[in-house]
């Protein structure tokens, strides 16, 4: 129970005015990000990263994480009232939530989404507190060889699971790893790929690229898209807790939170896939599965509890292993590095106060979101109708000033702009920007790990398979990369054989 005591202490420390303000700003931005179909949590955290880092320390990470889990609350509002998912993790809420809204039960669905999100959040935070320390302690036994193998495994998972096109995902990953190599060689010293620009000697700042790739490119892609639809009506009293619904959905709430948490821990799975799995599980074990898809309250409870729980699950690989499990947690990792902290197993030993304060802020943020979402639903629902011609100039202004504020350099704005243009082309051509960002963050760490390991072994590659743990991770990596490719080939071959010879 020690972790829960530490979490309790963290909650107390997270109630300082500075941390409360940072968490409040984070969750408010997250709610807005959640309702805007054009901007996802990764873009939201990336856009606010330079500003949040200005808060410093735990407040910076509390604010950034607030955007992430705040978006999970906000996404449900437009899903239910308009039938438009504000972000990908709330896509399953549309099915039953909007069906309920259309038959006049919008308030009941919205109320359930808020309380399901809260319950999912509570379960997620408790499991995060209980499991992060054992995971970090287990990882302490890992040397550079095992960490290198683990990093390869995590990168392959995210790349394969994160996007639709596996080959293009890996292409983006390699591109990101190359961008991460620009500048001084971390071990031997000479500069690499700087094209003679002195500004590139210290390397390309991760934040600048992330803001351009996530923030600007998503705006470019969203240009011209105006949200149309009719808001379903609801009364404020219908948003208040409905005890009968909560009792009816109690098992779904707990199971969805647990399932999505343990699935969400796996890098690359993310909140969206966890939510889909939770919805499918709830339907599978329901006494009335036919109700799902026609406006079932359990169809709202399951995905909303799930996406919140999964958002906290993604914090385990980030904080305990130093490996981001998604695009958003990659931005959070960038934030941790910018405030001078290296996430990973040592973080719990060297900066326990910081870690538990940040976890405590999650609890505070989760409670804030119940009140804020309930009160702000009318505002959030109307934000979605704000014209891009009003919204995007403001967002671009924040991006430009935020990027400049990192190093006080106008050249950073140019780099972010170029990254935004490349990101726009990549999104259009089905290259997911997530592997690029992960390659940029983890590439330098992977290079250091590989080279240090080979320095120890005097260049012998056998060191990588002499460690059973490392060997296991490498075999898993190969499996993750080649099994989906082989499965596709087999399916294509079977489909070809199924065609009658006359055709």
């Amino acid at each position: 129970m020690e972790p829960l005591l530490l979490l309790g202490e963290g909650i107390v420390r997270a109630t300082t005015p500075e941390l409360l303000l940072a968490t409040l700003i984070g969750v408010l931005v997250g709610l807005v990000v959640g309702v805007l179909p054009g901007i996802g949590p990764a873009a939201g955290t990336a856009i606010m990263l330079p500003v949040a880092v200005g808060f410093g320390g735990a407040a910076a990470i509390a604010g950034l994480a607030g955007i992430y889990y705040g978006a999970m609350f906000g996404g449900a509002v437009t899903s239910i009232l308009l039938g438009i998912p504000g972000d990908a993790p709330s896509v399953m809420t549309v099915i039953d939530g909007h069906a309920m809204a259309k038959r006049g039960e919008a308030g009941r669905a919205l109320g359930m989404s808020v309380y399901a999100s809260f319950i999912g959040g509570v379960i997620g935070i408790v499991l995060l507190a209980l499991l992060s320390v054992p995971v970090a302690q287990a990882a302490l036994a890992f040397g550079p060889t095992e960490m290198t193998a683990l990093m390869c495994f995590a990168l392959s998972l995210v790349t394969v699971l994160g996007g639709r096109n596996i080959i293009k995902g890996f292409t983006a990953l390699f591109l990101g790893m190359w961008v991460g190599m620009i500048g001084l060689d971390p071990i031997a010293g000479p500069t690499r790929y700087t094209f003679g620009f002195v500004a590139l000697f210290e390397g390309v700042e991760f934040t600048v690229i992330a803001v351009g790739l996530y923030g600007l490119s998503e705006i470019f892609v969203s240009l011209g898209q105006e949200t149309k639809g009719t808001l379903e009506r609801y009364s404020f009293t219908s948003l208040l807790p409905n005890l009968r619904d909560l009792i009816e959905c109690r098992a779904v709430l707990v199971w969805s939170s647990l399932v999505s948490f343990f699935v969400g821990v796996v890098p690359g799975v993310g909140s969206t896939a966890s939510t889909m799995l939770a919805y499918a599980t709830a339907k599978r074990y329901s006494k009335n599965p036919d109700e799902f898809g026609r406006g079932s309250i359990k169809g709202v409870a399951a995905p909303e509890a799930a996406n919140n729980s999964a958002s906290y699950a993604a914090m385990i690989p980030l904080f305990a292993l130093g490996i981001p499990a998604s695009g958003t947690t990659a931005v959070l990792l960038g934030g941790l590095l910018m405030v001078g902290l290296q996430p990973g197993p040592l973080l719990f030993a060297t900066n326990p106060e910081f870690v538990w304060t940040v976890f405590g802020s999650f609890w505070i943020g989760n409670m804030m979101l119940v009140v804020l979402t309930t009160l702000l639903i009318p505002v959030l629902a109307s934000i979605v109708f704000i014209s891009g011609a009003i919204l995007y100039p403001i967002v671009i202004g924040v991006v430009l000033l935020g990027v400049y504020s990192i190093h006080y350099a106008m050249s950073d704005i140019s780099i972010a702009l170029i990254a935004g243009a490349i990101g726009f082309v990549m999104l259009k051509l089905d290259y997911s920007p997530v592997p690029l960002v992960l390659g940029l963050v983890l590439g330098p760490l992977l290079e250091r790990g590989v080279r240090r390991t080979l320095i120890v072994s005097e260049g012998s590659l056998s060191i990588f398979w002499e460690s059973p743990i490392a060997l296991g991770f490498f075999l898993l990596t190969l499996g993750v990369i080649f099994i989906p490719i082989a499965t596709k080939r087999v399916a294509a071959f079977r489909a070809l054989r199924a065609i009658p010879p006359s055709q």
Partner: protein, 155 residues
């Protein structure tokens, strides 16, 4: 230019980039005695990028690559115009200052996104162009103590 043509062009550029990375990696040095040199990691990354880009080109040429998105003229025009507007902002900022630049950039981007303005919309944009730089001054220059680029008027 069709989306498929852009796809091939992009993959071609990445293929050339991959080969450039490999070329330079060999110059940096793959191994130094028994330990990996500065070119060790870039060589494998460059090779990976080149091979995967070649596969992407083959897939595109053979029709195995299916792309749903298109580069429609309207959104491409808007994107390029915003890109140009931000470039002008970067060039003018040292002369006119960052906040004045932002105040001018906001109506320009709004005009690019929505060329037809009503009186209400114009008033809204004008208000944002005034309020936003002031808010940014307090957030960045005062609270976060960022030395924003100042113009001749001191902001």
């Amino acid at each position: 230019m069709t989306t498929r043509a852009v796809d091939r062009l992009f993959a071609g550029i990445l293929l050339l980039l991959g080969l450039y990375i490999v070329w330079n990696a060999l110059e940096y040095g793959y191994m130094r005695d028994t330990t990996p040199g500065p070119g060790f990691f870039p060589l494998w990354v460059g090779l990976g990028l080149a091979i995967l880009s070649a596969i992407n080109i083959i897939r595109s040429v053979s029709g195995a690559e299916r792309l749903d998105a298109t580069f429609d003229a309207a959104s491409l025009y808007k994107t390029l115009s915003i890109f140009a507007a931000i470039t002008v902002f970067i060039l003018l900022t040292p002369t006119i200052g960052m906040l004045t630049g932002t105040a001018l950039l906001i109506p320009v981007i709004a005009f690019i996104i929505r060329p037809r303005w009503t009186l209400t919309f114009a008033a809204t944009i004008a208000a944002i162009a005034v309020v936003f730089p002031i808010a940014c001054h307090y957030l960045f220059a005062v609270y976060l103590q960022v030395p924003l680029v100042e113009g001749p008027l001191g902001f």
